[in-house]
Each structure stands twice: as C-alpha cells, then as structure tokens.
Symmetry: C2
C-alpha cells in the first residue's frame, strides 16, 4: 500500500526539474528507485523527502560533491546523527569563511569608492576656482 509518484509529480512537489531528478540519480545522490513494467520510475514518499533535503542543500549553496558526502551517511551502518550534525557544522564554517571573504571584499570596495569620492571632490574644487 505504498504510494508511488512519477517524475513529473516529484518535480512538481520538489521544485526540481525532471532533468535534475535524473541528474541527481546519475551522480549517485539517490539510488534504489523502483521501476514499473515499462521502466518508468516510481518514486516513493521517502524519495521525495530526500529530494527535498537535496533541494534544501542546494538552496544553501552546497556543491554536489558535498551532498554526495552527506548522502553516504544514508548507506552507513554506524549511527549517523552525530556525523550529520558534524557535517553541518563543518559546512557552517565554510559559509562563515565565505562571508568573511565577502566582508574583506566589501572593505576593499569601500576604499575604492572613497578614492573616487575624493577625486570628485578635488575636481569640484578646481571648478570652483
């Protein structure tokens, strides 16, 4: 009595394109998808849930490679909650690093803007003479 869903339905429920669903399968982000007698994919509820997780990861800027690492916890025998938390904490640090990098860029942009403002001011002074 399990419900199955077509590619189209999963695409609509996850916001991922049908092509992306298959692409994620191809790169090993999801497996074990059942097929009907015609070879059509039958996605389960838990497949949809997993795609939603992947979509969440995508939305926070995670790379495919990083998702693959996370996905490997699914096939693991050992307890994975802690591993998952640590993975997220590690990813959090990457995001913090990215923000710091942007912060540095921002400072350098501000210097540039100040530089141009000073130029504009000197030009104005020249014209006032």
């Amino acid at each position: 009595m399990e419900n199955y869903y077509s590619s189209r339905q999963v695409s609509e429920r996850t916001g991922l394109s049908i092509h992306t669903l298959r692409y994620y399968e191809q790169v090993g982000l999801i497996d074990g998808i059942t097929r009907d007698s015609n070879g059509y994919r039958q996605y389960s509820e838990s497949d949809i849930f997993w795609f939603q997780v992947l979509n969440y990861f995508r939305s926070i800027g995670m790379t495919i490679r990083e998702m693959q690492e996370y996905a490997s916890f699914n096939n693991s025998e050992v307890p994975t909650i802690t591993a998952r938390r640590e993975f997220m904490e590690s990813y959090r640090r990457k995001v913090v690093d990215q923000m710091a990098e942007l912060e540095r860029s921002l400072d350098r942009i501000d210097e540039k803007i100040t530089f141009f403002k000073n130029l504009e001011d000197s030009n104005k002074l020249l014209q006032d003479k």
Copy 2:
C-alpha cells in the same frame, strides 16, 4: 622612451597567467596592445596598471561581464569618475546582497544543527533509562 614588457614580465608583475592576459584581451577587457616586428606583444606601464585593476576586480569576485562594463568607461568621452564610483557602489550592493543570502543560509544551517542536537539529546535520554 616608453618601456615595454613581455607577456612573461607582465604575468610576473600582475600575478595573472600569460594565458589569462591573452584571454582578457580576447574578451575585450584590454585593447590597443602594441606589437613588435615579430608580432610579440609589448605591454606598456599603463597596460600593467590596468591588469592590476582587473586583478583587483577579480579578487573581489567581479565577473568578466561586470569588468567589461567598467572597461567601457575607458573608451568613454564623458567624465567617468562619477560613473566609476556609481559602478562600484552598485557592485557594493551586489556584494551586500550576497552576504545577506549567506546570512540566511547560516540561519537555516543553524536550525538543522539544532535539530540534530535535539535528536542526539533524545537518544542520550533513551540510553540513560
């Protein structure tokens, strides 16, 4: 009495690879580079200065397209200081937007981490019983 520099020299002084120098020329980020009798490029001091500006832009995450827009000020007749300042202010806003996006990601990551921590805590409680 102008000094000229070879690709290699410019590469060393700017930190850009020789291939990147030519690539930047190819996509129109720099032009008017003189050649010697054998067709070898002779970069001027101002070419080097411009490459350093481009490298700065690259370091703050600017795309080639954005650099091209900025480069167009070089060939402009009208006063460009103000245009350049406004361009940088506009780019500044993009960077601020990117930071806000990362900030949102960070919040969502923290939720996830909290979720896992709660799971770990309940597991611990179960084991203590």
